[in-house]
Symmetry: C2
Subunit: 189 residues, 2 copies
């Protein structure tokens, strides 16, 4: 093990995103990322399995945050309210000062077909985890699958709006508005 490097993980993450944005994801090597961060490759591999992992390591953390909040929502909460509690809980991961980083990440992913597919696969795994969490709450089918998919849809839309250059509202505000909009949209006859 090498010596302890202050905020090595954060430095590697920032260096990687800078390089992916400048040169493209494919063209960037782990050696270059470590070099830009002033660290060694060895240190890189203590934090990330590969260069793709830098972009997706946060995803499992986010999923666990959401799923745990769904699980511990009051027993009296309806399925959609349990999902809402889950999406609210994600707010801690998306403070305003994180937005520039999130935008850069989204741009890198949008520019690469493999990364876009990885992102879609990740979203599909969120859905599976949410269905499981709802089933444990006693929600039957098709309500569990439908509510999980709706939750993902609300999250995707709120998150895309949060990333939008013209937006200056917070994630929590946007996710709640999307949920309210969902109710309006679904109720219309």
């Amino acid at each position: 093990m090498g010596r302890w490097e202050p905020d090595a993980r954060g430095r590697l993450e920032r260096a990687a995103l800078e390089l992916y944005a400048e040169r493209g994801f494919e063209q960037t090597t782990v050696a270059e990322i470590a070099g830009r961060a002033g660290l060694t490759e060895r240190t890189f591999f203590r934090h990330f399995a590969d260069k793709r992992e830098v972009l997706f390591a946060g995803s499992a953390v986010l999923r666990d945050h959401i799923v745990n909040a769904v699980a511990i929502a009051p027993a009296s909460a309806t399925p959609i309210d349990a999902i809402a509690a889950g999406l609210d809980a994600a707010a801690g991961m998306f403070p305003l000062e994180r937005r520039e980083h999130a935008r850069r990440r989204a741009d890198v992913i949008a520019a690469n077909a493999d990364l876009r597919e990885r992102e879609l696969t990740k979203m599909a795994s969120y859905s599976v985890a949410l269905v499981e969490a709802l089933r444990k709450r006693g929600v039957g089918e098709p309500a569990a699958s439908l509510t999980a998919e709706i939750g993902i849809a609300v999250f995707k839309i709120a998150f895309a709006r949060w990333l939008d250059e013209s937006n200056d509202r917070g994630y929590l505000d946007l996710v709640r508005e999307s949920l309210a909009e969902l109710k309006t949209v679904a109720a219309a006859d």
Copy 2:
């Protein structure tokens, strides 16, 4: 051009799915598919660009069916009702006698990571097309994105239930039930 082969496309499709199920998608060659169908490779390539295309050629047709029905829904229809009209219109592509084929296709896709990712990418393209169709109807944001995502969610769930071995209900019945369930789920407070 070779001579006309009666139902060459259907024969190739059935032969391909049989072989993918027996040997796996990766292990099957175009020569084998053509051979099983009693046709030439040349005939295969008149109908499909490659062996993956056999599984996804119907997707563009389905998307156009749905999107066209959304576009021509009465001007008075709400966004969710326009989407419902689109999902209804897809029923013509899913008669009962098509179900065994659709199940086999789903099993082949589920067994291969590349095919699963392709299927997810296809679903994402449906969403983009639906948002566009809703915008042309004058639906603003985030309602258009949200309604499109919800429509895809309803379709995915109804379609998965239609494929389920234990199900013997029709696609139209299931898609309408999922839409009704959506309204119940979204309204709950």
